[in-house]
Amino acid sequence: MDLLFSFVTGVASFTVIFFIIGILYILISESSLAIHRFGVIKFLTSTSWDPVREVFGALTNILGTFLTTILSLLFAIPLALGIAVFLTEIAPNFLKGPIGAAIELLAAIPSIIYGMWGLFTLSPIMSNHIEPFLKKITAGIPLVKVLFAGTPMGIDILTASVILSIMIIPFTASISRDSFNLTPAVVKESAYALGATKWEVVKNVVIPYSKLGVFGGIVLSLGRAIGETMAVAFVLGNNHRIPTSLFDAAATITVTLANEFAEADKDIYLSSLFYLALVLFVMSFIVLAVAKLFLLRAERKYSR
């Protein structure tokens, strides 16, 4: 009986490994047609995504994913670190709990809500107010001007990145806060004793001490942002061209999958979509594994 129970629980826990291997295997076998037709390097570097001529390349999708992810990190990291500093050093004790919980609540809102809100509320604000404003103030600057070229439609990389950044703020913020909190009081007090101001303690003691954890949190958010689908599907426009401006519609891997998977009529089309899914899976798995590695190392360091 005991043996049976241990066996059943064992099988249940190995389902996780089974699913990871299963997903990898199924995605590879389903995309084998596209892998044979387009190869690996060619698929990853080709910009054509043409269901009519049956030529598929992933570069526009990969580029879209990278651009939105990196932009959203640029927006989110300073805010998230600021929130973490506020929650650990500035806020009075009775506010720490409620405000921290409220920020974490942002992570609980389903991504489709972000997407819809982005389409109906944020996108008009972006196209009517913020984007024309950005265009105006950058009009005189030679190189920056190019980034803001084109008609501000609100359905573009910039809007998608803003939504993504709101979604990932809570991950970075809460992990950073937890890492900041692990800085031993003695170390901080020694710095205060030397006459450091509060900001100097944060800048020179707390942040260097907890950088492993903070970095892990950032990489985790990166992994989340790469795989986010619904929040960007509404406001990115699914456009398979190399974007030249932040006001261009684009496509990420996830958006392409969401929009085209159920409609793919030809084998090679479907196979190429599976190929994209494979690329996404491998990419996000590596990023998440790196994040986990950092967080584990941070954990080991602090527990010493």
Partner: protein
């Protein structure tokens, strides 16, 4: 200006910016929730829950099919995902406690928690939709179950680890075999924690859209047949919001409102239970 006053000024500026950052975060939360609330309540009518969709151009109609579909998919996903997750977590915290394999599985689960859910959708499409030739509610439920398993597994593992070893040793001393110790002592000690994990995992999958897009697909008619395409709230929201009609948009807002309230209530309840039980 002296060095001291520069340092002080720098500190004040930096700390003010941090405070501002916190308020920006809160601002987004209030903005999004407020928007969903305002738009959602306006469109919230009894018809939304009691009527099925009507053809475009006809007034009225609701999303009864999507509410029922969502309930069915989530229910079956929970029935499949929770037992596997709880048992898997038990293995890691008990039989494989401290072993290398337990660490590996728990790290892999942490990664699986964040793996893009749309990839899981494509996986299920390949194994459950393509071979059978049609979309089905079962496929959607299995996709959600796969997302649930690592979440439940990790919380169960953590919660079981919190039960003190002396408790187990006391039960062993009475001559109980390990499975009895687990089911009658350890599970009881960790029941609240495990339950909270289950609540949070339901909250997690209830708002998922991407894995349902090409597994359970959508259905504009009322259906409880898990063997065919079945409507879900989230996919309906996607379809309605992207559509061109104003009353579609209104219904999408109302559906968003319902699902947001449901998910947030579950999340807050879960958090409060953890706080009350483990502090």
């Amino acid at each position: 200006m002296t060095r001291e006053s520069i340092r002080k000024a720098e500190g004040i500026v930096a700390l003010t910016l941090s405070t501002l950052a916190a308020f920006v975060g809160l601002f987004w939360l209030v903005f999004i929730l407020g928007d969903v609330l305002v738009h959602g309540i306006k469109a919230l009518t009894p018809d939304l829950f009691l009527q099925d969709p009507v053809p475009v151009g006809v007034k009225g109609g609701g999303l009864r099919n999507a509410f029922i579909g969502q309930l069915l998919i989530t229910l079956f996903a929970t029935l499949m995902g929770v037992p596997v997750g709880v048992l898997g977590g038990t293995f890691l915290a008990e039989y494989a406690h401290g072993k290398r394999i337990a660490r590996m599985v728990s790290i892999l689960s942490d990664i699986m928690v964040s793996v893009p859910s749309i990839v899981i959708g494509t996986f299920i499409y390949a194994i459950l939709v393509k071979p059978l030739g049609h979309f089905s509610g079962w496929a959607g439920a299995v996709a959600l179950a796969i997302i649930m398993i690592p979440v439940v597994l990790r919380t169960t593992e953590d919660m079981l680890s919190l039960v003190p070893w002396t408790l187990r040793e006391a039960a062993f001393a009475l001559g109980a075999p390990y499975y009895k110790v687990i089911t009658q002592v350890v599970y009881r000690g960790a029941a609240t924690g495990i339950l909270t994990g289950i609540l949070l995992s339901i909250a997690r999958v209830a708002g998922e859209t991407a894995p349902l897009l090409f597994t359970s697909f959508n259905n504009s008619f009322f259906s409880t047949n898990m063997n065919g395409p079945i409507a879900s709230l989230t996919v309906s929201i996607f379809q309605y919001a992207m559509g061109p009609y104003d009353n579609w948009h209104a219904q999408a807002w109302a559906a968003s409102f319902t699902i947001t309230v449901f998910v947030l209530l579950l999340t807050i309840a879960g958090r409060l239970i953890i706080k009350w039980r483990y502090k």
